[in-house]
Symmetry: C2
Subunit: 882 residues, 2 copies
């Protein structure tokens, strides 16, 4: 027979998977001999069983719960539902990973019409007893039986209103809960039970065991409530872990002035500073601290109020920190002068505090550098690298909407609706937030000018999101609630209409959108950051490169620790005002000769871009990806631009329009793009090869850097296709080498971003010197999810627990990962020294970086601001593997 229930004294800290974090720590503290209200834990496996049985608790589990309850009764010398000395318990969730506030809690369970009398007698406090009972009814009804809380609150409000006259108060005065007497509470209880019966058709359960089982079910059920699902997705917590349930004897901090309750940390969770930090309330229960009815006291004041308790508290806190070798977050209650610990856990902390604490613990000799590196949650580093809102200013901020946190950082500025307007305003010295239905590559200069970008359409990997992350500009995307009128230059959100020039503020880390101009604070990277990064670099084996298309981005990435460029997109260079007419000319060319002529004009620009990048990179590797997007992204849509182009090309407006229309595609993501462009127009690849090779040779000569160009052919699905384009590249490269009398070496590789390429990687590796996994496209095609459209249905998938995380943000290791692994193995089977990297969005996601380490890639490449995250995650993966 499986063991589904553990007394606290039967568990220990390393049974977290079975008992949940809270249960394991309560067990550990019990074993340490600390003052813990005793109880037992129903395991996470029981939760899984509950779901497997179609949301039923099996008889076996119920039996074990009641056996544990009997032992608890014996140990406490109280009996469940007893008229003279009833046992009351709390019932709380506790998953493997801490999910504060996400799931349900029920207090004072065990009270019924009889037990409340015994409780009153035992405590000598009738009002306290009846108040506890009515609180229990309310909480049980709301949390367990889903009877709306408001119905109960209305009864209390009515009662207080009725009391005004009796209490001699004026109509405008307030009546407090504390003004209500024991008798009042008795009446409230009667009315509460009536509400219960009316709503549910049966009496409020008087059997405490029935109450208990229903409460346990409610906790299990709460594992799958909407906010828990959202929290899990945000924190990468698997949906099949389940939650444990902790049933614990109640202690009361609200039994008078020798009682109290509080929470405290062993170090400051905001700054990491060493020293006890927390607050408490005399004569209160935990929920009162949270509710904020009274202002709590700083924990140090406890020294004056109850010196013995304080000393005991300090001593235990110190013991716990040493025991767990980490900063602790503790809940405690003092019942009539006696201190109880209700919970301890490794405390949540800001990124800044995490760094400080990790460094301090190393300096204090408590943990190793490996442990320090492993403990920093990689993705929180984002907080350190981007501006944030001033916390004071934020308090007054009015949230008008929220959408996808597409690129982190806080931004405030005046609203502009076109790239051109944004650019002009920026040039006048204004701070700008660019608001668009969706961005397109033509908006690049306006995006560059903006502090923040807000789009109505598009997901985490939309054009706006990708470009903004690359620039380090805050971006909130896919805000479907916005009603935008780009012509009238206004939008409405949260009931407010904003016109051009009005201020809004965006938090790209949370996705929140605020009214007005909220003050931001610049990012500061302190010494702790440097220390941790240095340690991380010493542990990791995976290299970290960046995705950068400009010398500015590249320089920024190097500052953040990038060791090369894994993805330099060449198309972004084409959108600048002086270049786009030339690329359009190329597209409208009718013959190879015309096209070559147009391309010829582009060479100086493209070469100049590459030289700039090679200069900044000082010999570090740079992988240059050849033209990727479909040509229709480059053609004009505005009448005026079309007319200009027609004039320039000596064509009629109709001809230009017809050509542009003809470029239309039903599914552009699977259309004429990537190396397919080079197959139909080899002259494009020739131009790009010439630009790369000339730039490399010239910078090599001018600056003496050891440059080995890496040319990457995108969207390959077949060896012969790569060979075809490669032949064009090699022929041109050799031509340039000859012209320049250079013996420079260069590498040609490909992206693996089409399922077929992964399946045939052994053949493709015969022609490729390196593979770079383009996991954005690979995810799209492996799932059949268009990244720009999936937003419309993915929420339903999260809610029904089909998928638990956004596959575009976190690599789908089961499916897409299978292809990555297969391609890596097949590729290396024919070319042992094949260099493997990843350049999709996943290169900056910690769990994906871990996967890349495990399958043996050589490097990950991510946007500049994610480089530190990738470095840390790579180190953590290496440490974990040891």
């Amino acid at each position: 027979m499986a063991k589904w229930v553990y007394l606290f004294k039967e568990g220990k800290a390393d049974m977290r998977n079975l008992l949940g974090g809270k249960g394991a720590n309560l067990a550990e503290m019990t074993n340490l001999g600390l003052p813990i209200p005793q109880g037992f834990t129903v395991t996470t496996e029981a939760c899984t069983d509950y779901y497997n049985q179609g949301k039923q608790i099996s008889d076996e589990i119920k039996t074990q719960i009641f056996e544990a309850l009997a032992l608890l009764e014996e140990q406490q010398g109280k009996k469940f539902g007893d008229v003279s000395n009833p046992l009351l318990v709390s019932v709380r969730s506790g998953a493997r990973a801490s999910m504060p506030g996400m799931m349900d809690t029920i207090l004072n369970l065990g009270l019924n019409d009889d037990a409340v009398e015994g409780f009153a007698e035992k405590t000598g406090n009738k009002r306290f007893a009846y108040d506890s009972y009515r609180r229990f009814i309310q909480m049980f009804s709301d949390v367990v039986m889903e009877v709306p809380k408001s119905k109960f609150e209305r009864v209390l409000d009515d009662m207080k209103e009725d009391k005004k006259e009796e209490l001699g108060k004026k109509p405008e005065d307030t009546v407090y809960d504390t003004d209500l007497t024991a008798e009042d509470m008795k009446q409230v209880i009667v009315k509460f039970k009536e509400i219960y019966k009316e709503a549910l058709g049966h009496d409020f359960p008087q059997n405490p065991k029935e109450q208990l089982i229903e409460a346990v079910k409610a906790v299990f059920r709460s594992w799958d409530n909407e906010r828990a699902i959202v929290y899990r997705r945000m924190n990468d917590i698997p949906g099949d872990w389940g939650t444990a349930v902790n049933v614990q004897a109640m202690v009361f901090g609200n039994m008078g002035n020798t009682s109290g309750t509080g929470v405290a940390f062993t170090r400051n969770p905001s700054t990491g500073e060493k020293g006890i930090y927390g607050e408490y309330l005399i004569n209160a229960q935990g929920e009162d601290v949270v509710a904020g009815i009274r202002t709590p006291q700083p924990i140090t004041k406890l020294k004056e109020d109850m010196p013995a308790c304080y000393e005991q508290f300090l001593s235990i806190a110190d013991k716990l920190e040493k025991h767990y070798r980490d900063m602790q977050d503790m809940e405690f209650t003092i019942e009539d002068g006696k201190l109880y610990f209700l919970q301890t856990r490794n405390g949540k902390r800001t990124a800044q505090a995490a760094l400080q604490i990790a460094c301090d613990l190393v300096d204090e000799g408590m943990i190793t550098k490996e442990e320090a590196v492993s403990r920093i949650e990689a993705k929180t580093l984002d907080q350190l690298l981007h501006p944030t809102f001033d916390p004071q200013a934020l308090k007054e901020g009015n949230v008008i909407g929220s959408a996808l946190p597409a690129s982190p950082g806080a931004a405030a500025g005046k609203v502009y609706f076109t790239a051109l307007d944004a650019k002009e305003a920026h040039e006048k010295g204004e701070r700008v937030v660019l608001v668009r239905l969706e961005t397109s590559p033509e908006d690049i200069e306006g995006m560059n000018a903006a502090e923040g970008i807000l789009t109505v359409r598009g997901g985490m990997t939309s054009h706006a999101a990708v470009v903004a992350r690359g620039m380090g500009t805050a971006c909130v995307s896919g805000c479907g609630e916005i009603k935008i009128d780009e012509h009238a230059k206004e939008f409405t959100l949260g009931g407010i209409t904003f016109h051009e020039g009005d201020y809004i503020s965006l938090d790209g880390s949370t996705g929140k959108i605020y009214e007005g101009d909220i003050k931001t604070v610049e990012a500061t990277i302190g010494g702790n950051f440097g220390r941790i990064m240095e340690w991380a670099d010493s542990f990791r084996t995976l290299k970290v490169r960046t995705n950068a298309d400009t010398p500015q981005d590249a320089a920024n990435a190097i500052r953040l620790g990038a060791e090369g460029i894994g993805l330099c997109r060449t198309e972004h260079m084409f959108f600048e005002a002086d270049r786009i007419p030339k690329i359009r000319k190329m597209i409208l060319s009718k013959t190879v000769e015309e096209r070559e002529k147009a391309l010829q004009e582009l060479i100086p620009f493209q070469k100049g871009d590459f030289k700039g990048i090679y200069e900044v990179m000082e010999g570090r590797p740079v992988t240059i990806r050849f033209l990727d997007p479909p040509l229709h992204e480059f053609v004009p849509t505005e009448e005026k631009d079309i007319a200009d182009l027609a004039k320039d090309m000596n064509l009629s407006v109709e001809e230009v329009k017809a050509t542009c229309d003809n470029l239309h595609e039903f599914n552009p993501m699977m259309g004429h793009r990537g190396c397919r462009l080079a197959v139909t127009y080899p002259e494009i690849a020739r131009m790009q090869t010439r630009a790369v090779m000339e730039a490399a040779i010239e910078v090599k000569e001018e600056k003496g850097f050891d440059i080995v160009p890496e040319i990457m052919i995108p969207l390959v699905g077949e060896k012969k296709e790569l060979k075809y384009v490669k032949d064009v590249v090699v022929a041109t490269a050799e031509e340039v080498k000859k012209e320049k009398n250079s013996d420079i070496t260069y590498h040609i590789g490909t992206m693996i971003e089409i399922p077929r390429a992964a399946l045939l990687a052994n053949e493709i590796a015969e022609e490729a010197e390196f593979f770079s996994f383009g996991t954005n496209d690979l995810t799209q095609m492996t799932f059949g999810f268009s990244r720009d459209d999936a937003g419309k249905f993915l929420d339903s998938y999260y809610m029904s627990k089909i998928y638990e995380s956004d596959p575009f943000a976190r690599l789908d290791q089961n499916g897409v990962g299978q292809l990555v692994k297969m391609a890596a193995e097949k590729g290396r089977s024919v070319r042992a020294d094949l260099k493997l990297g990843i350049c999709g969005e996943h290169g900056g996601d910690p769990s994906s970086v871990e996967f890349c380490h495990k399958v043996g890639l050589n490097y990950v490449s991510c946007s500049p601001f994610r480089v530190p995250i990738a470095r840390l995650a790579a180190a953590q993966a290496a440490i974990a593997q040891k």
Copy 2:
């Protein structure tokens, strides 16, 4: 040292891969002791080597060619380039598979300024000798050196013009080649050599060995000319096979009235009728027969002209047919009364003839039934099942354009531009050809009314193509050359403008479009077809089902041998005029309740459809696929329809438009469709389940058929996703069973059409009772090719030999096939009795059917008219595997 060159006497028939078909047969005939002008074959491997060496013939191969040449000289008693008795040879291509007319031939090679004199002396015919030389120069220049033929023709024309006076002809008279004398030819030769030198910068090669090597190179090169590539793609011939080259001593049929040349078949290639069939010309060379200058005589006339030769010919022809046990296609030449065979091969034949010949050969005891079945080229059966153009009428047809042969058959009718116009015209008794930019599901009734469909956009698997093939209606798609004005109801093609009501004709088997009303001939399926099919069915193990959405289609498919329905699409049912408003109402619903109400109204229709199909299928299995297309395919686009809908729904026109706009997707193929609709709107799956189950139970009861519904969930990529939808289906199905008090059993399965589903097939099989491979979508996503857009670049891929066939027509066994195989194995590993089928377009493609047999699928499903093809291909696969 490899052997690159074989004398005819060194080869035999089974060396076809090495020597090519022609070479192997020349060798075989030599060994049979037949009168063959001797020679040698340069192997197909030498061709491959030529390409591998960067289009160079290696010295080793050259040496072997010259060695073989020396032996030939010895055997013939003549010498290459000899002044007194020169050896002349022909140089001809000969691939493994016959590719008539696709590659190059050079005759009379070996002549030069000296040899021509010897040749003249030897033949005693100066004019003949000089004419042969000038023909050789012309052919060599054109075929080998790519000097335009027209330049030479102009010289001849000028010469004839100049001769007019001399010959006493009037200006309007014609001067013939035969009017030119030996001296004239000598002058022509001088001028021809001048042209050669001017064009190429060097003298015409006088060294016969140099001529020979250049000619061999030219033949190798011709393997990759454009028409050969196209022919290979149409006939599934791999590009890496290469061609052999046959060098053969010349014999001359143009040496007077005791000479001649001809071609003949041992049976009639059009009808299959037994008996010699062919034609010949006295005093002519092979090229004269082809050029059609004189009208050839029927072969039987040879009996009168040269009885001995005729008897010898009949005897050899009979011997060859018996030897090869198949109808032979032979070329022969009579040189001065002596008969030579230049070639024999299994003759090409019409589908009708193929059936007749196969049946006759079985009846004659010459071949087994297995051989008979194996010899019919499966895809040619199409010819028998669809109307064709009357051959006489077709001769006068004016081709105005051509595009993709999207659905076979010939059709002629009046042009209409909208589905409604087409329908109305059809109801008036007119024959209609529907011409559209592209079709959409709303056009279904107009398509049904049309004899043929012509679209400007869309590939072989576009909506028009798929639906037309299902209906058996001729369709030509993707004719980008058409300039269409749907509003003005006219289009222009081939310089002609057609208005509504003008006649055009289409051949959906060839893709050709004709002006006017060309007479068509109905398909007739004879007794031979039935015999072959019966034999095929007895050999095959793979079942053949059909894709059918209506009782009509289903009945037709059964007539053609379908054993069930593998894909019944439920969405096509929604487009009919009485249903579309209801589905639109469903889409515009704002709440689940509204949506359920709208769906409720659809149940009777959907149920009625299913009942109709179940009745026709009489208990055969029917796999019903749940709603698949994105909802935007159903919403109205016309202002009027939008207004109607708004009125009906009590919404403003703006609201309706906004909802429709909101359904827009960037990449609809990877958007909100398939089971994703059932995840977001489970009520759709509930409605469809109810319709299926009620229909099945009622027909089962009413007719007593043993119906086991098969419900197929499309576009699944994850086990939990299938489980989620399956739970909805099962709950509803059980509900219906209970209501109807039925114990009917049913199966739930899924399509494997997303790469991820194939990768995780072992997990998905835990929830699926059957898999049906949707290879259309699987091909799209595995390649990253949008089937509607790939047409724009695939031609470049064929021309550069990256891909050799359309992956949407012929299953890509290397890539997509890997996923199919993987999914089959993974699926069966957890569920041994998992039923596997394929329902993509590939189900009707012979090579894909063979693949399906090999990987162990249970059935293929294809459009009704392809059922016989699939049956035959399945039998051939089973026979081949033995």
